[in-house]
Symmetry: C2
Subunit: 371 residues, 2 copies
Amino acid sequence: MKLTEIIENSGEWLKGDGPHRNIVVSSRVRLARNLRSKPFPGWAKKAERIEVLKIVKSAVEQLPEMEDAYTENLEALSPLEKQVLVERHLISREHAAKGVGSGVVMNVNQSLSFMINEEDHLRMQAICCGLQLDKVFAMINQADSELEPMLDFAFHPQLGYLTACPSNVGTGMRASAMLHLPGLVMSDQMNKIINSVNKIGLAVRGLHGEGTEAMGNLFQVSNQTTLGEAEEEIISRLNDVIVKIIEHECNARQLLLQKKPVTLLDQIGRAYGVLSYAHSISSKEALNLLSVIKLGTDLNLFPDENRIVVDELFIETQPAHLQKGAHVQKMSADERDTLRASLIRAKLQVVPKPDIAKIATQPLGTTENDE
Amino acid sequence: MKLTEIIENSGEWLKGDGPHRNIVVSSRVRLARNLRSKPFPGWAKKAERIEVLKIVKSAVEQLPEMEDAYTENLEALSPLEKQVLVERHLISREHAAKGVGSGVVMNVNQSLSFMINEEDHLRMQAICCGLQLDKVFAMINQADSELEPMLDFAFHPQLGYLTACPSNVGTGMRASAMLHLPGLVMSDQMNKIINSVNKIGLAVRGLHGEGTEAMGNLFQVSNQTTLGEAEEEIISRLNDVIVKIIEHECNARQLLLQKKPVTLLDQIGRAYGVLSYAHSISSKEALNLLSVIKLGTDLNLFPDENRIVVDELFIETQPAHLQKGAHVQKMSADERDTLRASLIRAKLQVVPKPDIAKIATQPLGTTENDE
């Protein structure tokens, strides 16, 4: 499979369906694994990294679920192509900085991706839409079990899996969900939520993980600890917390609708107006306004069949996706802002103006009955 | 004639036509006159003011051009009604604060208005659209000549007409034009213009005269001095300066169109988007965005036949007009903002979205050949 196919098709996590789909953009689990008696990538010499890459890649490519996979060494990718994969959450920002001796393997529907020689020898990720942490854990657990006989993973009987960074030792697992929380942001409750979640050992981060800003009202909630708890317990605890956050978000939306309907309609209307007619728009402003349109869709102001247009714009308006789409390697920020506005104007033409008569009154913004 | 007729009909200065109509919203001249041997309104006792009001009103009502005039004592008007007249530039903010002993008289098309016992016994104003200072001066000069035999004006052979404030002694005349200068504002040239204009003894003020903020890119340029120069000279000098400012404004627009077409289209598009879909909008934001739509019309992005819709919204979205239209005496700022947004949404439906293909390339924003 070629990279263009990855780029031209939305991943399953974006276009699929799942429980609480409107609020939970995606669920994700990644495992960190390392080969016994090989130095961690950060310490390894170039030749050692190339050797590990060869061993791990060959094993991953043999997995039955990786048939017709996209597989590449990082030095073969341009910075722009790597950035496209980052914007799709298929590789990390750190991995995009790697070159010779590192690689990626991902399946057709982008639900499974493997980074070789990122911080660890192998980081494997499963991602799907909605709140389905059990499902993504099952997917990655199966891949892990299939790889186990082929690769000699560094495992310590007391500590568990050994990793380059001590914070990952144990399960080597990070489970997370990307949540769209405009209601909590608009009603100034997000800091309170972040504090409570932190207190129980979970982390809340921005769109692109650690150290990134929350844009588009998107927040990633994940486990912090990897030691002293079984994978299933971590997943179950995280799931419970996310269900609580969804409840809070629904309540916040309900309250906004009851107490500040005009403010809500105003924000949604303005977002639609600006996105429909602007000729220059930054990535950050686009995300923030698209988030409001997404909320408007949850509130029935926009037709549900247009949901995918808006969801795809979240990805398509990112800098690398824009440039890749225009087949331009180098582009100034101004040029990107103009191109972004014209893409949004064009795509948003199918979305009719907000239909106030159809505004939801309750239950809001989620599809709890989907489960 | 009744006040409702004044309120329901745009004045001639708003819906009429005139040279440089796109940039010069209106031309205006007012004369200050006082009766000999009567104390100025600020010093007069109530009975004296009532007497002067009676004398002056009776004379004004006899003018042939004031047939079927709207005439009223200020105590008969509610604060809201007075504010409506202020927003139409038919009376001053100061006059709106007056009650017993003060009055107004204005003609059907709102081109002539007379304030009795404002700062002076009589302040009479002529206003019309476009750059027509000669015409408004002729109008007011005729009214003055017609009143002269009926009223014994305080006139000093050396000083000229005597007025309550020394700054008006002499001609008692203030001539002004309201200019729409978005090009100069967007290209940060307005301060330079204001400084140059001040240096030659003319004043540049905001929308509602002295001490008011410039909103909607509207600026009032007027003479400062009333002594030592004949009326015609003042008018001619002011006219020359305004013609220069129009030139600068046209050049600024041309330059923006050449150097920053995307910024220009972006601002116009965003203004259209926000005005079309907002559900709450302040008076100030409305004026500023309407100003950008007005510029867009000058640049051919909106049909010329919709110009009046936008021009009328400048007046109709003002607080008192909004409330008067809704037949509500008291309204909170929030309620007004919601009502304003809904009025604009409704009215703007007739204005099609910006048609980029039709964008003007030159000569811009004025109708110099109208003259």
